[in-house]
Symmetry: C2
Subunit: 406 residues, 2 copies
């Protein structure tokens, strides 16, 4: 564990010994920006930009032949193989496909017949879309849908249904105990579909050894895959072969160019591919993964939590209520604090080059992507927050104007 | 109707008076390529490349702020509004989202409760994925799934279920009579989900006036949106408001940033948006639509059919069996001919710069995108086919080697 610095000098000292420090050079962030929104949309690694331009050139010159000559046809699969290493999964258990909503739907639908009870469970403070998807799937399939109180999912596993559960809560940043959940699920014939959106690329995940069987996640947050980059599905080999996807697209077919009327799924997680993936977006994400080459996941996690600990200590020093777990081991890559006037405060921070985000009614989230942030930079960003709060400079009319997306 | 040229000189004369001829300058096709695969993957219009680079720059400099500042948040909706004009639909009835498979699933699922019979119908010679999706949805929802004999869909409408039907058959290029189908469907309480993949961007479509209520389609064929570019959903205003999507993602929510636990769908077709769209791919497609500005759909259709008529007349002259309708009005933008040794013939054509595609066991498809092809160019391509067949130059070992994608 990295000791939380208590001064800028100590933060600088951590930068000097940071194994991940060279990775910051892989990003071309604009001058003067401290980007604490990597939990929302990661910035482009230079390699993502390079691969995107290559894909564009392949489209222009190779044209339809690029499905073969540029390897588009199995790009989703090859990218999934590389991503697998970042979640502690065997290479064949991950496929890049669709968006998180669609993937949660496919996995939960495929899981229902294999759970002891034909029912869907989701906590009330889960990411709203996860709740909507459970409701949508319940309406179509006839499965019972039960909303659980916040934190109630562990107890609900005894009922033996299908639980949709975030590995890291989008709001609080609280980490779920994956291994304990899976043990309890196994015991009671329940299945869990993990939402890894706020966990992948920042935590030291061990899906296989934690016994996780099903998961989906997005790639545009800590993985820096680009806006709306295609999401992924994880399905453990031992269960994948039994699963029937409700969305059998041609990319999940065992012989997509045979044009059979009968659907024969591919062997493992790849059966959850559906239609043609968006190659340009996928190429950018594939390039973004280059930045993770040689990165040890424990280093990633330690740095993210150490950066978060700076924010927590400084926020507490300003008298702010911290909504995220204080204990490092219980926390993901972002830290949420309560600021009653959070919206204008976030605008005032942005005007000073510090980007954070606001979630109504009063939550400000700071994301600590460990590959492009430096310790001293985070220290300085908290200085800016302190100044803005002390001077009440956020209370200027320009910081209250609302945009479509906050 | 354009008279079919009987000589290269007559073809050149058609080029001189072609209203769409200036559009060819909007594409940067490689020298020496005659691209007859626009029905599979359209080439990039220069405007698509420009918009893709802009989106990349917005990602790099605007970062997460680009959801507002670069208009990403409603890009799918604005792009859908522009696309609507190309299918004869009101602007608000189209949303760009997901892929065709997912969209057919969403629409058919939403349609089921509103059809007289809880059943799905699809013809056996439909695009295989459309059949898979019907089967997948049937398995999940309990709806009866019935495969129809080729051409049997019109008669099946009397049964009052949900029919998934291509406007243009992917293999034969046969055009369905949309208005007649819809009249029959209305009469019997049936609903039709049209697959417009091989129709959009090449035919003079009139979804609204033909009474079409539901449709999906891809954007990477005649629309030149890029490999795997996001697909679209059309839902007519009068029915859209009654429909419940089984995949209620946050982009289809009426107030996506309220983070409500309850799902409140948006007003019309936009409710069929699901998760975050792949912005880079979407931006390229959005740029590709610029090429269609000022294009009259009847001109598009007439030229595509005139080019197809050249291919049909020439192929018949070579003694080849034409698998597509001979009558222009019954045919889409591509022409299929039977060539027993189709695979090596297509390879031999490619070696001479003429790109076509092969569908096992013996179908060669030629696509006639009217925006970048010239009449004389198509005439010359058929000369090349004639030479290859006459000389049997296709029977060289290098033309028999198989690639992953044929």
């Amino acid at each position: 564990m990295i000791r939380t610095p208590t001064s800028r000098a100590e933060a600088q000292e951590l930068d000097r010994t940071d194994a991940l420090a060279p990775k910051t050079e892989g990003f071309n962030l604009p001058e003067g920006i401290t980007y604490l929104v990597g939990h929302s949309l990661g910035p482009p690694p230079a390699t993502a930009q390079t691969r995107l331009l290559e894909a564009q050139a392949d489209w222009a010159t190779g044209l339809v032949r690029s499905w073969n000559s540029a390897g588009w046809i199995d790009l989703a699969e090859r990218t999934g193989e590389r991503l697998a290493a970042l979640i502690g999964a065997p290479a064949g258990d991950v496929i890049v496909t669709d968006n998180v909503s669609v993937n949660l739907f496919k996995l939960a639908a495929a899981a229902l017949p294999h759970a002891r009870r034909y029912a869907l469970f989701v906590e009330e403070d889960e990411f709203p879309t996860d709740q909507y998807i459970a409701a949508g799937l319940g309406g179509l399939s006839g499965a019972e849908v039960r909303l659980l109180p916040p934190g109630g999912s562990f107890d609900a596993l005894t009922a033996g249904g299908v639980l949709i559960k975030s590995a890291v809560n989008y709001r609080s940043s609280e980490v779920a105990d994956m291994a304990a959940h899976e043990r309890e699920a196994q015991r009671h014939g329940a299945l869990i579909v993990w939402d890894l959106s706020h966990a992948t690329g920042v935590l030291d995940l061990h899906l296989a050894s934690d016994g996780a069987r099903l998961a989906a996640g997005c790639t545009y947050k800590y993985l820096n895959g680009g806006p709306g980059a295609p999401a992924f599905v994880y399905a453990a080999q031992e269960i994948a072969a039994k699963l029937v996807t409700p969305l059998p697209g041609w990319m999940g077919h065992n012989a997509p160019f045979a044009f059979d009327s009968q659907y024969t799924p591919r062997g493992g997680a790849t059966r959850f591919a559906s239609g043609t993936p968006p190659i340009l977006s996928l190429a950018a994400f594939s390039g973004a993964l280059d930045v993770f080459e040689g990165v040890a996941l424990p280093d990633l996690q330690s740095k993210a939590r150490a950066l978060g600990a700076i924010a927590i200590a400084r926020a507490q020093g300003m008298g702010l209520a911290v909504l995220s777990p204080i204990e490092d081991a219980a926390r993901g890559g972002h830290v949420s604090v309560r600021i009653a006037e959070g919206y204008p405060v976030v605008q005032a921070l942005a005007a000073r080059g510090v980007l954070a985000d606001f979630r109504a009614p009063d939550t400000v989230r700071f994301g600590f992507s460990p590959l492009f942030l430096r310790y001293a930079q985070v220290w300085d960003a908290l200085d800016v927050l302190d100044e803005i709060l002390t001077s009440r400079s956020w209370d200027a009319p320009e910081f209250h104007a609302r945009a479509k997306v906050t």
